[in-house]
Symmetry: C3
Subunit: 398 residues, 3 copies
């Protein structure tokens, strides 16, 4: 049932043309903010964030190509992937050969429209199916991209759920992809619904959810929160993406490799098929959280990783590709991981010398010599034995 709600949430966000800045992000965050308490940040164009600069804000209203007969053969209104994301405005006539220098296709997947961006180099372009590209006739085309690239701001959302302690779990997802469901909206949905659940629960730990444009968003957040007091609080973190496809779970470890979050995720995934890989400095925003100057314990829990399913970054990553059951199971898995983190305390056996007398407390068999019930007793004895102040419950479970 919650899976169906998640699908509807994704469907609602699907048509919006997001990018790393602009109104698409604002509209998206507004819908997230209807479900959870979300603080919206606007960071002006030109702000220096470490080695980077917040870019000009991009907005787009329309874009199309008309063929030599005046027919619209590519229409942004129909599918926003058709425009090279961050295209500068253009409106002119152009013959086929020079037009082709601005067209992007997928020759190996000729029926699909690719997703392409050009954030940091001024360019304009269109994406289309390779089939269509092959059928383009000679002649003069009219191209129009009604966009603006102007000073403005970069927008991101932050949802902070305070717990009993200051120790924080960071959950981060990117909100910069236009009409792509698994890569982007599935993560957005899991994060939103997860925050909604945790907001209702009692929390030992604090939780910080970031809804940010990829790369520049996490860099901006880190730059604005770059004090050891802030980042030292982050005791665990996950980057959420690709959580709606039917593939099994895949965990990419933190740079540290054996952080609490690594062990918590693997504990939860134990017993079901899943993939694991070590940290590599590539991928989503874990790249920034794990840069050597921060080295935060942030892993990434996905289903099929980016780039490993044929629908990735194409028009086939649409509402047909994701499944409500997958979204729901992803949410449950994230909740289970949070539960392990919440529960992973270190207990201290107050009766550390010899075993306490369990029988006296009704926790033990009374007729000796019999073997039944040993499993439960053994669990009790392990907890008592390892509660020496050096092992958390996660250690004991392992």
């Amino acid at each position: 049932m919650i899976g169906e709600q998640m699908i509807r949430f994704v469907a609602d966000l699907y048509p919006i043309c997001r990018s790393i800045t602009g109104d698409g992000v604002r509209q998206t965050l507004a819908k997230v903010g209807e479900r959870i308490p979300l603080q919206i940040h606007e960071v002006p164009t030109g702000t220096q964030v470490f080695d980077w600069t917040v870019p000009r804000e991009w907005n787009i209203r329309d874009a199309w190509i008309k063929d030599p007969h005046g027919r619209k053969i590519v229409d942004f209104q129909h599918l926003n992937l058709h425009v090279l994301n961050y295209s500068v405005p253009v409106h002119k006539k152009v013959s086929l050969a020079p037009l082709k220098e601005h067209l992007f296709t997928l020759p190996d997947q000729p029926g699909l429209v690719p997703y392409r961006t050009s954030y940091y180099k001024e360019a304009w372009g269109f994406c289309m199916a390779h089939h269509q590209w092959l059928s383009l006739e000679e002649g003069e085309y009219e191209v129009c991209i009604d966009s603006t690239l102007e000073d403005g701001s970069l927008t991101y959302g932050e949802c902070f759920l305070k717990g009993e302690t200051e120790r924080e779990v960071l959950i981060s997802c990117h909100v910069c992809h236009p009409s792509l469901c698994n890569d982007n909206l599935s993560g957005l949905a899991v994060c939103t619904f997860l925050a909604e659940e945790l907001a209702r629960a009692s929390r030992r730990l604090s939780y910080r959810f970031l809804f940010i444009p990829g790369t520049i968003g996490s860099i901006t957040w880190l730059a604005r929160n770059d004090s050891s007091r802030m980042t030292n609080r982050i005791t665990a973190g996950l980057v959420a993406a690709n959580l709606g496809d039917p593939g099994h779970f895949h965990y990419k470890k933190t740079r540290q490799g054996d952080a609490e979050i690594d062990r918590a995720v693997l504990q939860v995934l134990r017993g079901e098929e899943h993939g694991v890989e070590d940290f590599v400095p590539f991928g989503y925003d874990e790249r920034q959280y794990s840069s050597p100057g921060f080295n935060l314990p942030v892993g990434s829990l996905t289903r099929t990783p980016y780039g490993r399913y044929p629908e990735y970054h194409t028009s086939a990553d649409n509402l047909d590709f994701i499944q409500s059951a997958s979204l729901e199971a992803s949410l449950q898995t994230y909740l289970s991981v949070m539960k392990v983190l919440e529960g992973n305390r270190r207990y201290l056996n107050l009766n550390p010398k010899c075993e306490p007398q369990l029988g006296r407390r009704g926790l033990y068999r009374t007729i000796g010599g019999d073997d039944s019930g040993r499993q439960r007793e053994l669990a009790l004895l392990w907890v008592l034995n390892l509660s020496d102040g050096e092992h958390g419950l996660l250690d004991i479970a392992e």
Copy 2:
């Protein structure tokens, strides 16, 4: 030959009805004391030992069931396993159905009498073969258990063999099982004969043998010797049990997992078939020695572990089950382990810079270029190379 002596020792102890307290333990320790210097401790009922309390003392003189025809069908004098160990006194007539609530059998091993106890909950009962149980007819039975459960004391024996240093090896066995040979008496025999051998030898290390009732005995000993000065002396330890059956050796490691005793035992067992397992907080008294408040380096060296042979805790664990060859080889193996501990010193190569000239000392081949005798020379060179103050002989052997 020593194996035959061990068998006779076991046979002598077999008929005694031991329990965790009472005269059976005293008689048993008296026989041990005939062979080795043994200090007998009596700890009064009601003494608080950590979370536990020394129980009332149990003694038994007779027990039987008479069938509706007045025939004794179960007789303690014939086999002391017939009585539920620590049964409170009873003498009354009872019909079959309520009687059955006090009868314990082994449906899967219908010819054998089980061993059952009820130390910490007042109860009475009998154990019998399931075959017999099936043949019980309706009618009125007469049951009698002529036991007492009264204030008294818990009895244990301690044999301390002082060596050149204060560092102690702890060897512990339980003395609380009635007529059971492998589980109990084999360990008792190995400990007794081992102490006898070590008493005659020159010793670098000190040795402390404990002959104690299981669980409450080790808890009592630890409670009475709970000072770091005392327990810090214990540098290695073994819990001895199940040492007379024909199975191969099995070693359960200390909680620390790589203590000197772990490495010494595995060094000795190398080259013969044997089992090894990590510490679990279950089993014999290693559970208490390894509780987090002590964490002593005590492992357990047995043959077939408890519960893994069908005769375990049944009337089939009798004099036919144990073998003199097994007992003797168990004793030899314990002696070998002690020899490794005795010999495991750290030597310091007083000529650490470059190799000493072995040839000058007649320890080396004089005609170079030839390959014979290399194995012996290599051993010499390893000892010299690793005698750097950081490696003991056991490290070097490994």
Copy 3:
């Protein structure tokens, strides 16, 4: 081409009768000194070097056996292996039976003359093919060894190439074997040509080449340089030998087992067939460098290790056995290892917080969403990510 030069160098040295002292070593070092700056050290007989004493100097002019018919059947001028190395002078007549006590052969390789020595016990003897030994007839033989064993000195050569830093790489080879090509001269050639190459290059590290008699030579060098100031400079080292045979490379690790040199060699050998083994206190002079009083990080990089090829220490280890291609590849491999050591710096990412903007610097794809060129970018990102002051380039490569 350089392989051919190396072969000619070996051929030039082949006829010289080397030993652990004497003019053979001096002549050999003179030829090495024609190619590289070499300091010659003379250490007087009787000098105490740790547990050893520098022996008397041995020189030999001639040696032969004449059969009962007066025919020279063994002639040092023909092959210097025929004399037991370090034989005391002798000139007398002797019948067959007592003569045989002074003859050394290889019954399993009846066509080959063995190499035998008696440095530290006064003796005389001859080595011959077992075939010849079998054909010796009864009668009186005349034996002559025109040698001297007198006070003199032990000679060794040292080539020091100063670099930008004081940290030194030690390269050591033995120069005490007479006409044996792979065991001795191949190592001598690789060291000489390597020093020649490095002398021409700019060097961050300093290099120290030792051309020394085996065992007594390294002991003497260590004794004369036994100050922590000197030996602490040695940051890596290799013992060179057996580098001209056609076998693949074989690396014997340092006593430390994971020193920088171990990792550098294994990094270079990665991708070609090779053998690796842990340190054992046997072999060449790594035994002395790795004695516990020094424990220097010195491994040994050879082709087929000593004793594992049938030509070893026989007359078959001659100019036919070694190959110019093997010598040249050995030199190249040593050079590659030195290059890794030279390059293994720790860089510090000066932009450690988040990734630097590679796109702005032309180091990154401008159209996002495409997957080409990822391998190169990933390498860039790894270098940036791990340049945290704790990882050297060797760590990153691994």
